[in-house]
């Protein structure tokens, strides 16, 4: 029933466009931390000083072991639709790609 064309059985050279993750501009990263994107707050409220895009927890009281604490997301800026599809998230705060070399090897880092 299905009429497979010969061109359709050809695999693409790469499973995803390299530009999505491999050639992210340096400004997307916080220096020294390759895992967090450098979030520039959008002008105006959410994202201005005192109201950051990512709420900065300073005190979590009564902490327990083996519990994860996740800051509550705020709506800040959003990517244009096609960029969001390419990067896998609509929210710049959630885009944190690995640098190319870090995908293969990352030495342990201690403070």
């Amino acid at each position: 029933m299905m009429n497979m064309r010969s061109s359709d059985s050809k695999m693409p050279e790469k499973p995803y466009p390299p530009e999505c993750y491999d050639r992210v501009p340096e400004s997307e990263y916080i220096p020294g931390n390759p895992y967090l994107p450098n979030i520039e707050p959008a002008p105006g409220a959410p994202g201005t000083p005192g109201y950051p895009c990512v709420p900065q927890e300073t005190v979590i009281e009564n902490v327990k072991l083996a519990r994860a604490y996740v800051p509550f997301q705020r709506l800040c800026s959003t990517y244009p639709a096609v960029r969001a599809l390419c990067r896998g998230t609509l929210f710049p705060e959630l885009f944190s790609p690995y640098r190319g070399p870090d995908k293969k090897h990352r030495p342990p880092q201690y403070e």
């Binding site: 009429n3 064309r5 359709d8 709506l75 960029r83 390419c86 609509l90």
Partner: protein
């Protein structure tokens, strides 16, 4: 594949992804008016693009789309064929 068709499909896929993202955000932030506005806008835009696409190039689904005669759903390419799908260019990323 027709480059207009490819572009239209890309824009529609991107909007559908935006809608899913805002849907998930609104599940935990149901009173965020800004997010709700973005969601409603994206849904309206996607609705228009979907109508435009199907008017020009045929049905995107087998059950929520009307069809001209003869039944259009069986026309190649099918959505899982490589030639059906667009490639994301680097520029937008």
């Amino acid at each position: 594949m027709d480059s207009n068709r490819e572009e239209l499909l890309k824009q529609l896929s991107a909007l559908d992804f935006t809608i899913i993202e805002l849907n998930l955000f609104l599940n935990t932030h149901p009173r965020d008016r800004n997010a709700l506005m973005k969601y409603n806008t994206a849904v309206e835009q996607a609705k228009m693009l979907r109508m435009e696409y199907e008017r020009r190039y045929g049905p995107l689904t087998a059950y929520y789309s009307t069809s001209s005669y003869p039944w259009q759903w069986i026309c190649n390419p099918w959505p899982w064929h490589y030639s059906f799908n667009f490639r994301l260019a680097g520029e937008e990323c």
